[in-house]
């Protein structure tokens, strides 16, 4: 319990530093915020235009497709809120600042993942979540208490998978001194899940369910919420969540043994 308190205190301190940074660069952050709002608005506009013209999107109604998009939006932003530090990891490696993380009495993985919470995305997450709930309430979809409970459990599982994928990016950073390409690749892959992953051709579909399991993060929870038969069973989704976090932690430990300071 004491350890959790200490880690929370460290995270809070990092968040406070990030808020101060944000206040210094107010104009830039305002532009980022506006950009994100425009992106969301235009994406929703596109989906509603499709809804007007297309009755069926593969095996889903267009209302159901909107739920897939809203789930993607939530998970993608949530991961950025907590794991923005990963985007800065390359710089830490190249400048040798990761050495300091290794010396501190705080888990270096915790520091690398969470030392720069994204306040801009936190602010963005609040209105967009409210908007998403409102949009979902206007759609012609069938949701029950059971499906909603399972959905939340699967969202926690999705967050675990997102954490695992971010840890893998850190591992790649330690091994190749580059994280930018990998993290943006992850962002591109998760964008596939704006639509149900089942609409893509094989072998991409299987890759998106089992190799970079964005399908397990977004498609399965959305299907469960909508009371549709999930493409793969919920047990498989949880197994992949647990498996991916265990695998990523092992790889992280292994990669630390390969680490050599690039600079100092």
């Amino acid at each position: 319990m004491k350890k959790i308190k200490t880690y929370f205190k460290v995270w809070r301190l990092n968040a406070s530093n990030t808020i101060q940074e944000l206040l210094v660069n107010r104009a830039t952050h305002l532009l980022f915020f506006m950009g994100k709002m425009i992106k969301l608005s235009m994406s929703l506009l596109f989906l509603f235009l499709i809804k007007e013209q297309v009755a069926q999107f593969a095996n889903y109604t267009t209302d159901q497709v909107i739920v897939f998009f809203l789930t993607y939006q939530f998970i993608d932003v949530l991961a950025q809120v907590f794991f923005r530090g990963v985007y800065l990891f390359r710089d830490r490696i190249i400048r040798g600042n990761f050495d300091f993380m290794l010396l501190r009495p705080i888990n270096p993985l915790f520091q690398a993942l969470t030392d720069h919470p994204d306040i801009n995305d936190t602010i963005f997450l609040i209105p967009t979540t409210i908007l998403s709930i409102y949009i979902a309430s206007t759609l012609n979809i069938h949701i029950t208490i059971n499906s909603l409970t399972l959905y939340f459990l699967l969202l926690i599982n999705a967050f675990l998978i997102a954490a695992a994928l971010h840890i893998l990016v850190l591992v790649a950073g330690i091994l190749t001194k580059d994280t930018e390409g990998f993290i943006w690749m992850y962002r591109d892959m998760i964008q596939f899940a704006r639509f149900p992953v089942t609409v893509y051709l094989e072998p991409l579909r299987s890759i998106l369910f089992f190799i970079i399991p964005v399908g397990m993060m977004i498609t399965i929870p959305s299907e469960v919420l909508l009371n549709l038969k999930p493409t793969y069973s919920i047990g498989v989704a949880f197994a992949i969540g647990l498996g991916s976090i265990i695998l990523s932690l092992r790889l992280w430990k292994w990669s630390l043994k390969k680490y050599s300071s690039a600079s100092s």
Binding site: L31, G35, V54, M185
Partner: protein, 271 residues
């Protein structure tokens, strides 16, 4: 002295070669960048294929027309909008621009050739990637009979020039501030939705189309493709050409003003 026997532009060809050499030092970054572009086109083609799975037309486009549109926009994006100038503002702010300013070369020609090197490389790769996409989706391309190749090439060149000047303008932010990413992020977000990358602009509601046409974005690939698809009336060609020319001249004038003001403000201590 030995250089004098070569044409004046020779030194800029060296800039072009140097840019390629530098790019291939970071091969992994380039491969990942290309893979990302490929995935983006793959997603768009997949989504539109699903949209047309149960119907022959949507938004006034037949399936073949829409797929042709997405293929063309992929290629044009890589020619017109790919840019090597993303780091320019950092170079200016940090002072490392000084080395370019004191060399006996024209800075803008040098940056232009650097941009050209970037575009040529991207164009080569996008052709390869399009071949892969062609074999995956097996589309039937639709091109009308009338030939506007020369106008098309002129519009592509003008759009590339507009994009180059806009990137120089973003770079100029470095004279005053290290943060050019905010405006640049907003610009690319606008571009993604208003240049027709994900969908043709004429599927948008009229009011949004009218607003979008007040910006230079529709001229950065959408109108060129509409021309090739035969979806423009002959009487629209001249007004579009004039608008593009007006944007080019206007942006050049704004850039000249900003660059001159910036140079007066420029300091490069410790460089």
């Amino acid at each position: 002295m030995a250089m004098s026997k070569y044409p004046k532009l020779f030194k800029y060809i060296i800039v072009l070669q140097q840019y390629w050499q530098n790019l291939f030092v970071y091969r992994m970054s380039f491969v990942v960048w290309r893979l990302r572009q490929f995935l983006s086109s793959f997603t768009a083609l997949s989504v539109w294929s699903v949209v047309f799975a149960n119907q022959k037309t949507a938004f006034g486009y037949a399936q073949d027309e829409m797929i042709t549109y997405i293929f063309l926009v992929t290629v044009l994006y890589n020619i017109i909008l790919s840019s090597s100038l993303n780091a320019l503002s950092g170079e200016i702010y940090s002072g490392s621009m000084s080395t370019k300013l004191v060399k006996p070369i024209n800075v803008f020609l040098s940056l232009g050739f650097q941009d050209l090197a970037h575009k040529i490389l991207n164009f080569g790769f996008v052709i390869l990637e399009s071949l892969i996409l062609y074999f995956i989706f097996k589309p039937s391309f639709i091109f009308p009979n009338q030939s506007y190749e020369l106008i098309f090439i002129a519009w592509v060149a003008l759009a590339a020039l507009i994009c180059f000047i806009i990137n120089l303008l973003f770079g100029s932010i470095g004279f005053w501030s290290p943060d050019s990413w905010g405006p640049r992020f907003l610009f690319y977000i606008f571009l993604d939705f208003t240049a027709g990358k994900l969908y043709p602009l004429d599927i948008l509601p009229n009011i949004i189309q009218k607003i979008v046409y007040l910006t230079p974005f529709p001229y950065m690939s959408y109108v060129q493709i509409q021309l090739l698809l035969g979806r423009l009336q002959p009487n629209q060609i001249l007004p579009i050409t004039l608008t593009m020319l007006a944007w080019t001249v206007g942006l050049i004038l704004i850039f000249k003003l900003v660059w001159q003001k910036g140079l007066k403000n420029y300091t490069a201590m410790g460089q």
